[in-house]
């Protein structure tokens, strides 16, 4: 590990530990659905926020660690004020530990996904501001036009901060006042926030692809920028597909429907390039980063198809508020974001494909597929019975119980796969043997 690369690698190690802990709390939470009262010391009201916040921390810390690593290599200049990266890391780890402690003590106060006391949002935002400053000062020295991934990172970094601030506007009475406004603003911010970290992760995926193939062309192509513009438009306007049933102005929801449907273009393009990827997959099957990128493409196609279908209001009527939404969220955060970030982590660490990694990869993807299918089935049962019958909540959930149990069992497999991969990645990141190649 070189001195300059140390903050990036430690960011990634912290991110991987957050993922492992988040997955552990996810297993506890899923079993609390199946066996009420299990693990009484950490009830569901605590295990859920611990799971969600830690997994979200993995995504943005994993992406940020990659940016700190790749940026000096892309711009061919050292990171501006590397000490700021250390401060950023210290702020994130310190605040993360305080957030975990507040959850374990039952001290909440925030809204879904950011349930910690809102005062803890301040150091997170300060840490992010350090990234904003460091990123733009470093990229200012970049010669020539920016490739698409730099645009994606810049957009993701700026919009993460803007939407993170927007997600806390409810603290001002003028921005709440009724449940329609509360929910609409919450999901406006969350939809765009998710879009912003997707920009960070997909930008990272593009860099990994470029470094594996050695071809700088695709990231500078017209197609790359058109896809970026499409993603940006969805980040800005697509959020209202989360709130079709909320009685906000109908134009907001119709606009989101129209914007969301533009993503079919993305899906068609992905399927068309599938044959090329399959060919490359055969050649590069011994490369760990490539194997994860390949898996991420499978998950992108599955999840994008699901996302597009549930963005059609007539279908959303049956799927909204059910486990199909959870399947979409899990498929995106684990199937797409986590596999892209693993590709990046393994590229940076130079980890080789060993027996442990191979087993971890298979267990992870196999369990995730079962997990995803069980959630879809549970959601289909819940959605159909909720809309078409007058059954109460608990009898409906009893009908869905076999699928909920299947999802909890698959969660254990997922946790085992992640444990093997996280261990392999951390060992490689902290090893001095793999740190010499410029990636």
């Amino acid at each position: 590990m070189t001195r300059a690369d140390r903050p990036a690698r430690l960011f990634l190690v912290a991110a991987l530990l957050a993922l492992w802990c988040g997955a552990l709390f996810g297993v506890i939470g899923s079993w609390q659905h199946v066996v009420p009262g299990i693990v009484d010391a950490i009830p569901f009201v605590k295990s859920r926020p611990l799971h969600v916040s830690l997994v979200v921390a993995w995504i943005f810390m994993g992406a940020v660690g990659g940016i700190y690593h790749y940026l000096p290599r892309i711009t061919a200049t050292p990171l501006h004020a590397p000490r700021l990266a250390w401060w950023h890391l210290a702020l994130f780890i310190g605040t993360g530990l305080l957030i975990i402690a507040s959850y374990l003590m039952g001290r909440f106060g925030g809204r879904e996904y950011w349930e910690f006391p809102p005062v803890l949002a301040i150091p997170v935002a300060v840490g992010w501001l350090l990234l904003v400053y460091g990123f733009f000062r470093t990229t200012a020295r970049h010669q020539g036009p920016w490739p698409a991934y730099l645009w994606m990172w810049a957009t993701g970094i700026v919009f993460f901060l803007l939407t993170y601030a927007e997600a806390h506007l409810y603290l001002l009475p003028a921005f709440s006042g009724n449940m329609v406004r509360d929910l609409t603003l919450q999901w406006k911010a969350y939809g765009a926030l998710t879009g912003s970290w997707n920009m960070l992760v997909y930008g990272t995926g593009m860099v990994v692809m470029e470094r594996i193939s050695g071809d700088a062309g695709p990231a500078r192509s017209r197609t790359a920028f058109l896809l970026f513009a499409l993603g940006f438009a969805n980040l800005l306007f697509g959020w209202a597909h989360h709130i079709y049933p909320v009685p906000a102005a109908s134009w907001l929801r119709i606009l989101a429907y129209a914007i969301s449907m533009t993503e079919w273009i993305l899906l068609v393009r992905l399927i068309r390039q599938w044959r090329t990827t399959l060919g490359a997959g055969r050649r590069e099957r011994h490369s760990l980063p490539h194997r994860f990128l390949f898996a991420s493409e499978v998950w992108v196609i599955l999840n994008l198809t699901l996302a597009l279908l549930i963005s059609i209001p007539a279908i959303n009527l049956f799927t909204h508020g059910t486990h199909i939404t959870v399947a979409h969220a899990m498929g995106s955060t684990i199937g797409i974001n986590t596999t892209i970030l693993f590709a990046s982590v393994f590229l940076i660490s130079g980890a080789h494909m060993g027996r442990i990694a191979r087993i971890g990869f298979r267990v992870f993807n196999g369990s995730l597929l079962l997990f995803w299918l069980c959630l879809l089935a549970a959601g289909a049962v819940k959605g159909w019975l909720t809309v078409t019958t007058d059954m109460a909540f608990q009898p409906i959930m009893q009908q869905a119980w076999p699928f909920i149990a299947g999802f909890a069992v698959a969660g254990i497999g997922l946790f085992v796969g992640l444990t093997l991969l996280v261990r392999h990645a951390i060992r490689a990141l902290l090893s001095t043997q793999h740190a010499t190649a410029p990636r």
Binding site: M179, H242, P247, A248, G321, T322, T325
Partner: protein
């Protein structure tokens, strides 16, 4: 590992076009945000606006992390039922809600909520109930993939 210096046969997309597209998108997003913060999310029914008690109830809802298990309009956790219309649902109502908030159920633990906090939470649930109906059980689909009540601006 190869570095990113390979040949590119793809024409670079004009920076000027990109700037214009992004600028237009950002201006539209600002306009949409302004509408979302104001006119697009006002409520017609006066009972739906939070009074002081409902405002406190919204805070207790966050402080006790009720969203971990419950939903409004299908948004929130999956362990317990959706609470959008718990006040007006047949067989339920304010007393029913108050009892569960204070004492819990077989599946929901008693969270140590005081009677005063329970009143605030009931006031909050009452305001939420006045905003609309969820879930939508009257399925009336259109050829455009929407459903009719989605087009009703019933605020």
């Amino acid at each position: 590992m190869a570095t990113a210096t390979g040949p590119s046969r793809v024409k670079a997309f004009g920076a000027r076009h990109r700037r214009i597209i992004h600028l237009v998108l950002v201006v539209l997003a600002i306009a949409q945000s302004a509408a979302t913060y104001t006119t697009a999310t006002t409520v017609r029914e006066p009972k739906a606006a939070y009074d002081a008690a409902a405002m406190r109830g919204a805070r207790w809802y966050r402080e006790f992390n009720c969203t971990a298990c419950h939903q409004f309009y299908g948004l929130g956790g999956y362990m317990g039922p959706d609470l959008t219309n718990v006040i007006s649902a047949p067989g339920k109502g304010a007393d029913y809600a108050r009892g569960i908030i204070l004492h819990g159920t077989q599946r929901m633990p008693a969270l140590g909520i005081t009677p005063a906090q329970a009143e605030d939470l009931v006031a909050f649930l009452r305001a939420v109930d006045a905003t609309g109906t969820h879930p939508i059980r009257h399925v009336d689909l259109t050829p455009w993939g929407t459903y009719r009540s989605m087009h009703d601006d019933a605020r």
